[in-house]
């Protein structure tokens, strides 16, 4: 058992490192030029040398993402509660919501720029728009699927709709909320980086566009790596929170 546990922690690292090794060896063997596909050693070198400015841009992107994501969590949970608790709101708001989610967010950025100018605001809004949908849908599902019998038990005790929501609806949608948060945080990064590439003069997205226009492809890849690492770290934070707060939902699995 212990050996398995150790292997489980090592495996993700092994796989990641393995892919980088294959990449490095492949590029060397086929003599791929750096402006087409840079070797990991090249862009990691760039990452180390330019860590000052890269860190600055990363900070900007992280902040933008977290702010947009924060809005998405608050409004997503509230929206999810409203939609899940009321069949009437559910029926009237759902088509609109799906239509809204179908719009490619890249197409909205220019509009946001017209409204708010270039910079942080469009990026925050894009991160918000792209990450709010899964949160709404998951919370609404958790709240709308309270067992009718349980609802009867509580109503026969004189419980109000609010009490049913607080005692049953919210706790039971927690696992669904966390599942959606893990998706939403990675989506939020996509949103902010997209917006930065289109309309910003700071952030990893901007850095990558600027670098690629100068054919500094290794720097572009360094930027990609930074975004990926930030995404993984945020994901891990929410996965850890999920394990702590909703242990009961993982009953029977190896985590329990």
């Amino acid at each position: 058992m212990n050996q398995n546990r150790a292997l489980e922690t090592i495996m993700p690292w092994m796989v990641t490192i393995g892919i980088f090794v294959v990449w490095e060896v492949g590029c060397r063997a086929f003599n791929v030029p750096a402006f087409i596909l840079p070797r990991p050693s090249v862009f990691l070198d760039v990452l180390v040398q330019l860590h000052g400015p890269i860190l600055q841009h990363a900070e900007q992107t992280l902040l933008t993402t977290v702010v947009g994501f924060g809005f998405a969590v608050v409004l997503g949970v509230l929206g999810g509660i409203a939609i899940g608790a009321s069949p009437w709101i559910y029926d009237s708001a759902y088509p609109l919501l799906i239509g809204f989610n179908s719009i490619p967010k890249v197409a909205v950025v220019p509009v946001l720029v017209i409204w708010f100018g270039i910079g942080v605001v469009p990026a925050v809004i894009t991160a918000f728009m792209i990450s709010v949908f899964p949160i709404i849908v998951n919370v609404a599902t958790g709240i709308a699927t309270v067992e009718p019998e349980l609802r009867d038990v509580l109503r026969a005790l004189g419980a109000s709709q609010l009490q049913i929501l607080v005692k049953v609806g919210l706790p039971r949608s927690l696992p669904l909320l966390f599942a959606s948060l893990k998706i939403a945080i990675t989506l939020a990064f996509i949103g902010s980086v997209i917006s930065e590439t289109v309309a910003s003069n700071a952030g990893i997205g901007y850095l990558m566009v600027a670098a690629s226009s100068r054919f500094e492809v290794p720097l572009v890849f360094a930027g990609l790596m930074v975004v990926a690492v930030m995404g993984v770290v945020m994901y891990a934070i929410f996965a850890a929170l999920e394990q702590r707060l909703t242990r009961w939902a993982f009953r029977g699995s190896r985590a329990a």
């Binding site: 067992e147 019998e149 349980l150 009867d152 038990v153 509580l154 109503r155 026969a156 005790l157 004189g158 419980a159 009490q163 005692k167 049953v168 706790p171 039971r172 927690l174 909703t246 009961w248 939902a249 009953r251 029977g252």
Partner: protein, 270 residues
Amino acid sequence: MVQSQAAPPGHFVDLRGVSLTYGEGEHETLALEKADLAIAKGEFAAVVGPSGCGKSTLMRLVSGLMPPTTGAVFVAGDRVTRPLSCVGMAFQNPTLLPWRTTLANVMLPLEIVEPHCRTFRRDRRKYTRMAEDLLASVGLAGFGGRFPWQLSGGMQMRASLCRALIHAPELLMLDEPFAALDAFTREELWSVLQAVWMEKRFTVIHVTHDLREAVFLSDTVYVISKRPGRVVGRATIELKRPRTLDDTYGHEFNEYVHDLRRRIGEVRAQ
């Protein structure tokens, strides 16, 4: 043994000419038709009938979760117009909350029902003791700290019964509570339920399709016809209490079961 008319009014639970229709227009279904039912305070009443006869509808009507289309429901002398706030309920599915321990599940009604919810925080220790005692009385002493998913189906049902009884309701509604359990566990729980009831003497409406269960547990058995459900018979079970599982193999017990069986056979043939 079986009389066709309901008992006179002035009872704890009183249904007078209650009908319920679902849906509208062509999809209209009559679930319950002119049901008359009178249950005395402290009586253990069973409701039996073929599946789909509106037994569960009856429960929801009595607890005020659903208004009747015609007729009136009276509980404790008052006409029921909105959900009663003093009813304990348990269903075939134990519906315990997986994020709460068994003890916290049992104490859930105390957080909601008046007047306990006002003093719940202050008197937490007293209420915890109450819940532990109740768990012990159904054979779950020491299991309060476990989560429901760590308990067997029978134990979950016991906990569900405790949750229905913790606030000392005057009326307990059971909707096929033991239907999903194996035969041994089920019979064990008959005895547990009987013991708790004999101690506290609340009024029970117990919906079941198990005739032996109905005869074992109840004072009165109501037979409901198939859809649209009508109360077509009432049998008084005069076996002395406490009834034991050995009694269920006796002549007298089986007379009652046969009699009910025959009644339901007639209803189904109609």
